[in-house]
Assembly symmetry: C2
Homo-oligomer: 348 residues x 2
């Protein structure tokens, strides 16, 4: 509107007070009479004054911004996560600086470094971070919380979804539904989530079907690898009665392999996935899966981070876990569905 942006001095002059008083009024510090307060507010409004955040940060040392560094993530997961973080951040009056799509250690390190000084805290989700990474790239005084990470460093709390309990629950459900043999399609070797889910599978099998042989085939989270895994399973001498894939995309790939081979799902073989991606609802048969509220994950991360920033940090439980829920749909054979009147799924 005006040609030059107004500074605190302009406001002070306009209101006939000192800049100190302006600062006090605008920051609600008290120690000002109602009249000066009114005068300052009026002047500020008239001049469209907005405090310069750079100057403010310089002196206070706070940016009121938190940074999120994320890998090149699968769409839905990404957007839900950001939404959760963003919403919680806004509620706390914080801004969100995002840096995503990192596909290498160096890339992630650069991202973390360039955020230095621009943020009051960080939320990091990256397969590349470990203790060393943090020590080398994070200023020691910068609060950070890790997402979905195996790192157990007391300085950096982490939030994980409860992969093992979720996987365990799903395997239990499959066994309970009457499928005696359950095979598992694994994720990429180095992936933490995959490892945890496999652990859950092993645990459930060991506990509930101790005499059954474990049946684990390789995969890499891609739909195509699920397809290949599906064919591999079909080629086995004794076909499993159910397949539990470490993520939904592989489950879908597997589903296509079965369809192609004329195998009926769930009548001949049941299938279940993990993640509850949007697609799971729309493939046919709709996919039973394990769901985790990703937005909640983001929200929890931010809340934990703000606690850290406010110094309420730590002591004890510095790692939190988010519950996972089994979502029963058609593909596992336990769904009560009136096939005749198939209503549209819930709105997204």
């Amino acid at each position: 509107m005006t040609t030059k942006k107004a500074t605190i001095k302009d406001v002070a002059r306009e209101a006939k007070v000192s800049i100190a008083s302006v600062s006090r009024v605008l920051n609600g510090l008290g120690g000002v009479t109602a009249e000066t307060q009114a005068a300052v507010r009026k002047a500020a409004a008239r001049l469209h004054y907005v405090p310069d955040s750079a100057a403010r940060s310089l002196i206070t040392g706070r940016t009121h911004t938190i940074g999120a560094v994320l890998p090149d993530l699968y769409g839905e997961f990404f957007s839900e996560l950001i939404r959760g973080i963003d919403l919680a951040a806004r509620a706390k009056g914080l801004h969100l600086l995002v840096s995503s799509s990192h596909d290498g250690v160096e890339d992630a390190a650069a991202a973390v470094r360039t955020m230095r000084g621009r943020v009051d805290g960080m939320i990091i989700l990256s397969e590349f971070v470990d203790g060393d990474f943090l020590d080398h790239n994070l200023p020691s005084d910068l609060p950070a919380v890790l997402l979905d990470s195996p790192v157990d460093n007391p300085r950096y709390p982490s939030i994980n979804m409860d992969n093992v309990a979720g996987a365990q629950a799903m395997v239990k459900h499959l066994l309970d539904t009457g499928h005696a043999s359950v095979a598992f399609i694994n994720g990429p070797a180095g992936n933490y989530d995959a490892q945890q889910r496999e652990k859950g599978y092993r645990a459930a099998m060991g506990q509930l079907a101790p005499k059954a042989k474990l049946n684990i085939v390789a995969g890499d989270f891609s739909e195509e690898s699920g397809y290949r895994a599906g064919r591999e399973l079909l080629a086995q001498a004794k076909r499993p009665r159910a397949v539990f894939a470490a993520n939904d995309m592989m489950a879908v790939g597997c589903l296509y392999a079965f369809k192609e081979a004329g195998i009926r799902v769930p009548e001949d073989i049941a299938i279940a996935g993990f993640d509850d991606i949007l697609i799971a609802r729309y493939v046919s048969p709709s996919l039973s899966t394990v769901s985790v509220s990703i937005a909640d994950l983001g929200k929890s991360a931010l809340l934990l981070l703000t606690e850290l920033m406010e110094g309420k940090g730590h002591a004890g439980s510095n790692t939190r876990t988010l519950r996972c829920d089994v979502v029963v749909r058609e593909s596992c054979g336990a769904h009560q569905t009136n096939v005749a009147t198939k209503h549209p799924p819930a709105l997204v």
Copy 2:
């Protein structure tokens, strides 16, 4: 690592030069001998010096950050858009400040205002912005580009996807495939995209099937509204041969309505959508749709914004358009598919 963060003074002392020289070296301004340069670099490295961005912004007036304010968007669209922007921004050495999930004018206005001073430019996607909004909430000297907006203000260039051409092409395709009558499921009344797509539908029909009567039913972009629209269409005296929904979710809803009624797709009625969301590939029959590279949209927006920021903001063509492509799948009846060997869809 070190207990206190190093400032430029520390580096100067360590390198036995003045702070001015340190600044010159680190900013590559020249006017320094190779020796001092080396000394400074060594000192900076030893101290793990990182320039304070707040102080830098304060004096230079630049933040090297661009802001994106977005509505509470559909997942996939959102993540793709952010990815496009983020990638392009990083390539230009810019940071990305995100504020999403705004569901009201006041909300969006607040977001824009609080970004003031924190960013060098903004990318705005919001149904609430119009000329007034911008004049009231944007500092006049802050470059901004609008996404998918009807605003035609010379001060704010905008980038739109070519909704009308895309819709036109899809209708043409449906007609060419032999479906004589094409109905249209509209989007929410106030929505710009919806309006443009309707416009494309009208244009194509008027041009290619001038004697056919227009058949437009209401919808609001939700899956459920698509379902209702589908039932409405089935109840018509003379059923259309093809349905073109203003977005994919409605097309999916419509598909379910047809399935429920025992209508075969595409044999009895063809269906097409708009957006090419991930699901489109996975419903059965897979959904023909109009695709636009959302990441490109984000990238273009950022590139345009940086041009503006560098002062290359020229008069004339201040609004750009992004091409849309018809994606032919099974639901429109023109797809050559070997149903016997249905391969898994392309990886995402």
